[in-house]
């Protein structure tokens, strides 16, 4: 007994010394989202465990994308870890720009990662980025207003019900909008939202021959529905509202419903930030009546190591630390279970304490309901739900969503926007040689 503990101490000591001998400073590029900022605050824990130091480059999402993409494509080597998403990972992985994460330690338990997340962050079955948190999208609604309106939110509502509820909750006199949705231009903002809305109306970006499909009636139906819903019951200037703007509106009690990322649930139920924390209910993202696909997406912010870094070991150590079960427990012990990074690990949803968190079940159900390999009613040649996993997508979808936003703002008609979208998508696919 005595001997073994002494031995253990000695081993631990030597481990520390080994760690110290190889102590390195890694540079991590990340996005300025709440969970990442929290992670920065716990860096000391990582340094204490491994001896490695961390330099953070925290940037706003658009700037981050621009920075890391330039760096990875030119092999600039400025970062040892990059925070990227489900869109970038398979493309970069296929190009051989990321270090495969196929030799993670046993206690990391890679099989614990939610299958949907693991699939979306892999290329040809190899994991290239470890999910820090994952999300789908769902309906968040004000239970008090819903009650006042005399309605009951089903677990799986349709768009028609959403419209009905928005009409009932809309209350301009009290500064309450029936519904808040993203309209902001950008492929990851309003572009993502309208794409999944399209899915739930039976629309798709491309047919199997990569022909753009914006001239199809399903797109027109989706866009017409969205525009009329938002014009009638949405907030002023919704064409420039993205995730943040809507979050802030909802927290201030200015929205009856909000359909957006599942991670928002912990923000809107946090009494420190939200004036409506006690009155939020959750439901699956809606679909149009008779359409089997729902409008929920799948996304993960994940940590990846660019190939060519000199500090691969330290970078791997960091990824194992930041996306581990231990990290989740660390955050839970300091800030409560509602604030841990969600949507990445199966074990989290099996934790009894976490099951008591009001949004846990709906988040998991939403994630499980998302199928990136089979995102639309009609067959498509691409993978991805709110995006199309091809390199040309980000630029093309940003331009398309700019046309849509102009339609939301009333600067052009839905038909004009769709015609321009069709032209843009066709142009890009021709330029890229798909057709």
């Amino acid at each position: 007994m005595h001997l073994s503990s002494a031995l253990r101490a000695a081993t631990a000591l030597s481990l520390i010394m080994v760690g110290a001998a190889q102590a390195e400073t890694i540079t991590i590029a990340t996005v300025n989202n709440g969970d990442m900022i929290r992670m920065q605050g716990y860096t000391d824990d990582f340094t204490a465990k491994t001896g490695h130091e961390v330099e953070w480059v925290t940037l706003e999402e658009n700037v981050l994308r621009q920075r890391v993409t330039t760096d990875i494509t030119t092999k600039g080597g400025q970062f040892d870890i990059m925070t990227i998403g489900m869109y970038e990972t398979p493309i970069w992985g296929a190009n051989g720009w990321l270090v495969p994460l196929d030799d993670l330690s046993a206690e990391y338990d890679v099989d614990d990662i939610l299958p949907a997340m693991r699939g979306g962050l892999s290329h040809d079955g190899t994991l290239y980025a470890a999910p820090f948190y994952g999300e789908s999208s769902m309906v968040m609604y004000r239970t008090d207003l819903m009650e006042k309106a005399g309605l009951e939110m089903p677990d799986a509502p349709t768009w028609q019900f959403i419209r009905e509820a928005a009409a009932a909750m809309d209350d301009p006199a009290n500064d309450i909008n029936g519904i808040c949705l993203r309209g902001k231009a950008g492929w990851g903002e309003g572009g993502a939202f309208i794409t999944v809305t399209g899915n739930s109306f039976g629309a798709r970006w491309f047919d199997e021959e990569w022909n753009a499909q914006f001239d199809q009636p399903q797109w027109k139906a989706a866009l017409d529905f969205y525009v009329s819903l938002m014009n009638d019951y949405g907030p002023e200037g919704y064409a420039t509202n993205g995730f943040n703007e809507n979050l802030s509106l909802f927290q201030q009690g200015k929205c009856g419903m909000w359909i957006d990322a599942t991670v928002a649930a912990s923000f809107v139920t946090n009494p420190n930030d939200s004036t409506v924390a006690d009155h939020v209910g959750f439901a699956l993202a809606p679909n149009a009546e008779g359409v089997e696909k729902r409008s929920n997406w799948l996304w993960a912010w994940a940590l990846a190591i660019p190939a060519g870094t000199q500090k691969e070991e330290a970078a791997k150590a960091f990824i194992e630390w930041a996306t581990s079960k231990d990290y989740i427990e660390l955050v839970a012990s300091k800030e409560g279970w509602a604030n841990v990074p969600p949507g990445a690990r199966t074990s989290l949803y099996e934790t009894p304490e976490y099951q008591e968190v009001p949004f846990a079940k709906m988040t998991l159900d939403s994630i499980n309901a998302a199928d990136p390999t089979n995102p639309t009613v009609d067959p498509v040649p691409y993978v991805g739900i709110q995006f199309v996993a091809i390199p040309e997508f980000a630029g093309m979808a940003t331009e398309v969503s700019q046309e849509f936003s102009a339609a939301y703002a009333g600067q052009q008609s839905v038909d004009e926007a769709l015609a321009k979208a069709q032209a843009i998508a066709t142009e890009v696919m021709e330029a890229a040689g798909y057709r």
Partner: protein, 276 residues
């Protein structure tokens, strides 16, 4: 040269000028005020002007989250370094253009200015690749060079217009009196050129401080200046007006103070030869 005016008119002038001045300054004032509010107070309706609980909380959060000192230091080094380097290159050039002009002097000047019209985004990839090749990515030296090159045309032009204003007759008179070249430079030219050089330095420092494309794209950690610091506070999740205001105030305060203290030089200097 104050013209005599009736007190009434002076009063009107004063009122009007102050009103406009405050209006122009208001966005900055509002940012500074907001930085002392809590996030909830920052979006309060109706807006709170002075009647809120002043707090330093936002500054605390920003200081804890970012290494402000390092960003500040990088901004100072990059802006200062590029200014000094720029002067070393520009002073001789402007000097010779002003005192030994040739037929092509004006063409050269305008050509220099035209290099500033190249769209930065268009050459991002070439420059990035070049920087990797030369090992200059995320280095202060690299940014000092780029900032210097970007602002060089402006420096040369400003200095040129100053030097032109130095009357050649004085030099000739001094030479007649038997002044040596050293005395000429030391006692006549330098004192006359110093104000112009000072205001050129100031303008260049401000321009380099505020440049946000190259400084953001060519740096990561070691050379990241305040423009990168700001990029981590723009549109995060949740309420952010107060923290953004605090970060903004911290990013612009040094240059604002410098500008205000030296506004006489700056104002006098910002003529680009417009006054003759």
């Amino acid at each position: 040269m104050a013209r005599a005016v009736t007190p009434r008119r002076k009063l009107i002038n004063t009122g009007l000028a102050w009103a406009i001045g405050l209006l122009i300054f208001f966005p900055i004032l509002w940012t500074i005020l907001t930085s002392f509010k809590t996030e909830a107070q920052a979006i309060a309706s109706p807006p709170l002007f002075l009647g809120f609980d002043w707090t330093l909380e936002n500054y605390g959060v920003v200081m804890e989250r970012s290494d402000y000192g390092r960003f500040l230091m990088n901004s100072i080094i990059i802006a200062g370094g590029s200014t000094i380097l720029g002067l070393i290159v520009a002073v001789p050039a402007a000097w010779s253009m002003a005192f030994v002009p040739s037929r092509r002097t004006k063409d050269i000047l305008l050509w220099m200015l035209s290099t500033k019209m190249l769209p930065a985004v268009g050459v991002l990839y070439p420059i990035y690749l070049l920087f990797i090749e030369l090992g200059l990515l995320d280095s202060r030296a690299g940014l000092v060079i780029v900032m210097m090159l970007i602002n060089l045309p402006i420096i040369v032009w400003m200095l040129y217009t100053y030097f032109r204003e130095i009357p050649v007759e004085i030099l000739e008179a001094a030479r007649m009196d038997g002044a040596t070249l050293k005395e000429e430079v030391l006692y006549i030219l330098t004192p006359m050129a110093v104000p112009g050089i000072a205001s050129t330095m100031l303008l260049n420092f401000i321009l380099a401080w505020n440049e946000a494309f190259w400084t953001l794209n060519l740096t990561a950690v070691d050379a990241a200046p305040l423009t990168a610091f700001i990029a981590s506070y723009s549109s995060p999740e949740g309420l952010f007006f107060a923290k953004l205001s605090a970060a903004s105030t911290m990013a612009i305060a040094p240059i604002l103070i410098l500008g205000w203290f030296s506004q006489k030089q700056l104002v006098r200097g910002l003529t680009f030869g417009a006054v003759k």
